[in-house]
């Protein structure tokens, strides 16, 4: 019986194999090749999946009516949150901890240039580019140091205490901010393009005694009417307008108001002020930097960032995994306005890491992504959620054809397995339609921030984030920003490529903040996720603690989500 069964089996196998022909060989080769490819191409995911499954740590004890306090994995409970930049002065003993640092240390580090591995300066400075349409103008840091010195001295000499800066993103804006830190005046970054009445109200509220603004952008007599305290105006003239005479003063304030022009001041003061970073005593704190948070009411709300808030956020934002950190070879382009603290802190982090930065005068919350990124080839882009969701809906989605769809599907499988797809034939395939107009060959990171009170349509879904990863070939940081919190409240893990559907979460709190949900409903003792008002505390928060006007929840992977 067994014999006959075996014999029959043998005969059957022989029969089947007897039909081996050319097709069989081809099929077998394909099968073999695919099996080999699967083995060769399999890679460990970029980060251990468990780290994505639980991204923050809750405190073991909570208060009644509140959730536990959540913190980033790198700053466990019981230890201090990230206070600053950990600046180590040359000559300081090796075993001492670094200082928190302030804006002056950021600029000094940027001017010093990158360090070699042994700690000696390599002399390689970053650059600052200003993008004007299709061309980028290069500025050296020494040149900007000179501007800082001239403007700082000019304002210091006049004894002003509070300077309002109302400029588009530019070198002058950056110089004015740093001059404030070095020469001891409070800087107020007012968004540009405001109606003169609002600007006038802002100046009045801030009690600004100096104003730096774009020449020709506003009617001075309107602004000075309500601002008798204003004693100095510095006009920044665009390249095309420099031949004009901007020194005119309105009749009614002729005695009390001095008007100067930025490039003329630089020209005059060039020989007097050196190219060196002014010496400073790190123990003397620098003045605050204020920004205006656009609130629903027309006027907006002043956020009084102390230098320690800004450095704490800057330090936390630069704490990326080792392979992804900003390095001296990067070019960081901000297409979101520096009057918002997330782009500001990202640019500060880039300067502190000796990277080059690129500023775009059209930068703002709602810009055309394709237009704003021409001119330079950045490796990192800082943008708002509004800009990115607009671009995705308007350009990427409609231009995704069948071939792009197939390429995207393949790339999305790689992302799902936890790996960032490398640039290959399939990525080219995916990008045929959707990003054809972009020239982002070197892009490796997109930093997207979402304003907590922005319209819910601007929030990105996990599908959109996956599309952006596939079509731009860059990893993504998606951060939640709120009034009173420097940098961001929470930010996604750079290696979190999971596409679980629905609106994306905002990752874990940064190492400069901790998040508690307050006003939670205590009686629902179920498995449901707790939901409550987002309360943030930590060194990056103005006043140490703030409750934000939005409700959030902590999902199963301990990431922060907004309740819609």
């Amino acid at each position: 019986m067994a014999d006959t069964f075996l014999e029959r089996l043998d005969a059957m196998v022989a029969d089947v194999l007897a039909e081996w022909n050319l097709y069989t060989t081809v099929l077998a080769t394909i099968l073999g090749a695919f099996a080999v490819y699967m083995v060769i191409a399999s890679k460990d995911p970029d980060v251990h999946p468990f780290l994505l499954a639980r991204q923050s740590t809750p405190a073991p004890v909570r208060q009644h009516g509140e959730s536990a306090t959540y913190r980033a994995l790198e700053t466990p409970h019981g230890f201090p949150l990230r206070l600053g930049l950990n600046v180590k002065d040359p000559g300081a003993p090796k075993w001492t901890g670094g200082r928190r640092g302030d804006l002056r240390d950021i600029w000094k580090t940027a001017v010093r240039g990158a360090l070699n591995e042994d700690g000696s300066p390599s002399g390689k400075q970053g650059k600052i580019y200003t993008v004007l349409g299709k061309k980028a103008i290069e500025h050296s840091l020494d040149q900007v140091t000179q501007e800082i010195n001239v403007i700082g001295r000019h304002l210091q000499k006049s004894g002003v205490k509070t300077v309002a800066v109302c400029l588009t993103d530019s070198v002058e804006l950056l110089a004015a901010i740093f001059a404030g830190a070095f020469y001891g005046y409070k800087t107020i970054i007012v968004p540009h393009n405001l109606p003169p009445e609002t600007l006038s109200a802002h100046l009045q509220k801030a009690n600004a005694d100096a104003l730096i603004a774009e020449a020709g952008s506003l009617d001075l007599s309107l602004v000075t009417k309500g601002n008798k305290q204003l004693s100095i105006v510095v006009w920044v003239a665009k390249y095309g307008n420099r031949h004009m005479d901007w020194n005119e003063v309105p009749e009614d304030v002729k005695g009390s108001l001095k008007v100067a022009v930025w490039h003329e001041l630089i020209e005059e003061g060039k020989d007097l002020s050196g190219l060196d970073v002014p010496a400073y005593d790190p123990k003397i704190p620098t003045p605050a930097v204020n920004t205006v948070w656009p609130s629903s009411s027309e006027s907006g709300e002043f956020i009084d960032f102390k230098p320690e808030n800004l450095v704490s956020a800057t330090g936390a934002l630069s704490a990326l995994p080792r392979t992804q950190r900003v390095n001296p070879n990067d070019i960081v382009l901000s297409i979101d306005s520096l009057s918002r603290s997330y782009p500001l802190c990202q640019i500060m982090a880039a300067l502190f890491a000796n990277a080059s930065i690129a500023l775009n005068s059209v930068a703002g919350e709602k810009v055309d992504f394709a237009l704003a990124t021409v001119g330079v080839s950045p490796t990192i882009i800082v943008a708002s959620s509004r800009t990115m969701s607009d671009y995705h809906d308007r350009i990427m989605e409609p231009h995704t054809g069948i071939i792009s769809c197939f390429g995207r599907w393949l790339q999305a499988r790689t992302l799902e397995a936890g790996n960032m797809p490398t640039r290959n034939i399939f990525s080219q395939l995916a990008r045929i339609g959707p990003t054809a107009e972009l020239s982002l060959d070197n892009l490796r990171l997109l930093c997207i921030s979402h304003r907590i009170d922005a319209s819910p349509e601007a929030r990105l879904s996990t599908q959109q984030l996956t599309d952006l990863r596939v079509f731009t070939g860059a990893r993504i940081l998606y951060a939640l920003t709120g009034p009173g919190v420097a940098g961001a409240i929470a930010q996604t893990n750079i290696f979190d490529y999971r596409n679980v559907g629905g609106l994306s979460h905002f990752g874990a709190p940064l190492s400069s903040t901790e998040v508690t949900l307050t006003n939670i409903a205590e009686d629902t003792e179920s498995d449901g996720l707790v939901e409550g008002q987002i309360t943030v505390s930590g060194p990056a928060v103005v006043g140490g603690n703030t409750t934000l006007p939005a409700r959030g929840r902590i999902s199963n992977d301990n990431t922060l989500e907004l309740c819609s």
């Binding site: 022909n21 999946p49 499954a53 959730s67 536990a68």
Partner: protein
């Protein structure tokens, strides 16, 4: 000739739909599916829910003395520590069992584990420790530091009748 003619029809039989081809093709499909199958992200079980910070009075605290598998709490200068992980010391049968569920401040300061170190009357105001000398206070301080390092503060202790005390 006849033999040659006999062999030619053999070539015509070469077909793609032979069983072996089907087997290999289906193997390939299985492999493809296995490679591209949708994978659900890893999920970890949720950790234990956090303990709610509560306000205790000596009368409500005394229940947490470790008997009947209750957690073991003790209070030091108004802070209630959850010492359950150290049940061997602070729980029933341990060296410090007298402190379980009680205000242990005076006992720790005096390095004594006797009953008389405790406030007998549970409704009495909290022991303010005014009569302790510097050495004893230092003692207490170091105990407190050790507790803060090892155990969680899960509540605070107030006297019976204190405005902060929860209504019983």
């Amino acid at each position: 000739m006849a033999a040659a003619e006999g062999s030619t029809p053999q070539a015509e039989v070469m077909t793609i739909a032979s069983p072996i081809n089907l087997i290999i093709a289906s193997l390939f499909v299985v492999l493809l599916y296995w490679h591209f199958r949708p994978k659900a992200p890893v999920e970890l079980p949720r950790g234990p829910p956090p303990v709610v910070f509560r306000t205790y009075t000596p009368k409500t605290l005394i229940k947490f003395n470790g008997e009947d598998n209750q957690p073991v709490y003790l209070a030091v200068r108004g802070r209630v520590f959850d010492v359950t992980p150290g049940r061997g010391f602070y729980g029933p049968g341990g060296v410090y069992e007298n402190f379980a569920g009680r205000d242990a401040s005076r006992g720790l300061a005096c390095q004594s584990f006797d009953e008389e170190m405790l406030t007998k009357d549970l409704s009495a105001p909290l022991d303010e420790l005014k009569d302790l000398d510097a050495e004893q206070l230092e003692n207490l301080q170091s105990w407190e530091e050790r507790f803060s390092e090892k155990y969680l503060v899960i509540g605070k202790l107030v006297a019976e009748g204190d405005p902060e005390a929860p209504a019983s």
